[in-house]
Amino acid sequence: MNTAAVRILGLDRRLVPLAATLALFIGLVVYGAVSYDAFLSPQVFLNLAIDNSFLCIVAIGMTFVILTGGIDLSVGSVLALTTMAAAALSKLGWSPWILVPLLLAGGSAFGAIQGFLIHRYRLQPFIVTLAGMFVARGLCYLIDTASIPISAPFFVAMAEARIPVGGGNSLSSGAVIAMITVAVALWLAHSTRFGRTVYAIGGNAKSATLMGLPVGSALVRVYAFSGGCAALAGLVMSVYMLSGYSLHAVGLELDAIAAVVIGGTLLTGGIGYVAGTVVGVLILGIIQTLVIFNGTLSSWWTRIVIGILLFLFCVAQRLIEARAGQKR
């Protein structure tokens, strides 16, 4: 009875993109280790986690959205708005115990409204979140057009906190928050009904509805989760930069989408892993690290290489889809 299974090199079809991503990451690490002596030091990799913590958090929220077959372009702006609000409100003397939950709730509510519009009025996620991006950026400017420094003790303490991981190396609080987010997202995606409904919607939204799954509420919650992740990333960035600025994280949504796609998630939805996204973020980070190590390469090569990788992964995805289509 085990016939007609689409298997490539003995792997489940769902795991092929993830395997490709991992292979790419290992390849890049090996390349770096061979080319540069100092590359294989632990702190290089810890810095990868520290410098990309907010990208990682945003990309995880984006993974869930893309798994449903949607997209969220508002995340970069929501992140910036959160840094602005955090800076402005902490300057007014708000307690972090109120501020942090409030901002997280605000980001989630922002996402939930977008999700509601997308589900209820059948609007295209692309255009709704595009408008959401404008709104959030515009609200940033309404608060202030200049950068606001953050000097509240809570944020400064968080920024100075270093979690030792042995051997004289340490992690920032943001990196730890990103790791906790990854753990929560893994649990959400693979061990809850909500997570499985997200996958079902991406696989076939019509079937998911006919199977009696709560498609509408899951969609609203997915965008709320993405908005919440963006707000959390905003808090992490406030700590990292110790400032709120309306031009923080311009274009971050593109990096997040790139990380998700390079992490092996299909943009058409239904197939992909949170773990893959984490590797995708690390790949983006390591490309940047390699460019820095090289010294002669200019920073724009990062963007071009990311574009090329995006192209290769998208073409590969198309080929996999076409193959699956033929089998049916």
Binding site: T3, A4, A5, T192, R196
Partner: protein, 509 residues
Amino acid sequence: MSAPLLAARGITHVYTGKPALDGVDFTVRAGEVHALMGQNGAGKSTLIKVLTGVESPRAGEMALGGSRIVPTSTLHAQQLGISTVYQEVNLCPNLSVAENIFAGRQPMKPWPRGGGIDWRTLNSRALGLLRGLDVDIDVRRELGSYPVAIQQMVAIARAIDISARVLILDEPTSSLDSEEVERLFAALRRLRSQGLGIVFVTHFLDQVYAISDRITVLRNGKLVGEWPVEDLDHAALIAAMVGRTPEAPPVACGATGDAPAAPGTPVLSARGLARRGSVNGVNLDVRRGEILGVAGLLGSGRTEVARLLFGLDRADAGSVAVQGQEVVLHDPAQAIAHGLGFCPEERKTEGVVEDLSIRDNIVLTLQARAGLWRRLPAAHVREITDRLAKLLDIRAPDLDGTIGTLSGGNQQKCMIARALATQPCLLILDEPTRGIDVAGKAEIMNQLVALAREGLAIVFISAEIEELLRVSTRITVMRDRVQAGTLAGDCGEEAVYAMIAAAPAPVSP
């Protein structure tokens, strides 16, 4: 006889003015397989929609196990115990087999053990359920990696796990091979012995006799009757479906008989045309002035023949020659360039370009053939559309209005006009009379005959045998995706029915 499990009485339903069901009674008993039969548009799917809560009927009532029910949605019907498995499996191909069975109802671990989905229990229960249907597969693999037959079994497993008492199978065998059908039937027999009431909708007559205990036949939204399977033989079943007793004298046919087909090279000739999963070994010859009818039940491969001839699908094997010249047909534009015209079956999705004017719709193909740069002069367009509108009697207040404002029959005529505008040497019509009232049908057929008299070669595909007999010079019959044979146009209904119903026989063109 056991008491009825599901009883529907006097079900009446109306779609935008057109009655779809008219006082239909339908009864399913526990432990039986009940075949629901009827032609296209007989009301089978509407009845299923009513039973599963997709549509609420205008009149009539339903009872399940003696108590009255009013299903309001598919989900509600499922909870009541009525589940449906469609031909197109409504599951998620990217989830594992086990997940598909339990999606939305996954067993959860208790909080002391970390909460979350209990994958071990889920997988083992799925395995047990499927083994009960004699399916032994790796339930952790993604559903999409298994063939449709397995996916259907998974859908059935899901349905019966949601406490189904009545299981409705809508065309479950359309995409299965004979071995897979046998496996499905074995599972159905097992479920029947467990006391389930099974409703089986199919177009394959042999399968009805292989599995069913009773047959209910609908025609034009009305109940024709309910019979135990042994009281209704093949011929009687077809007669009940098409509404004509085989004993009745055949209608005078061969309308084009007085215009003898021109000898010489056929306008179109196909040899051994085949495509995997579509049709196999089709041989056709159509000459000038000839109308070749294509008969067959739904899913027999009628439409697929048209798609292959017009280059909409690529053939895996075989050849097509137009006017004796072998041609390559990979794209409709090529077929049009070779002088073929086509009227697709699905007028709304494949034919009409809704927002364009009637004139633009009619000249679309002619214009497309003229290439990217040369626009047909407006006067020319007006002249052609006026002439065709008159020829086909297209009744529109204004030919410059959008085509969406026309009735179905007039839209259909526009589609024929679009094909005729290119002055094709061969016209392929796939169910041109579907969804059109009686007067409209007669009109279209008269026009076909007139066109053939002027020398046009026509391939005419229809579900209605009577129509085919009225206009065709010859009739070729499709059955189970192969060509069953070709009959003379004046062979009579009985011969056509016999060939449609006959057990699979070797191809004899």
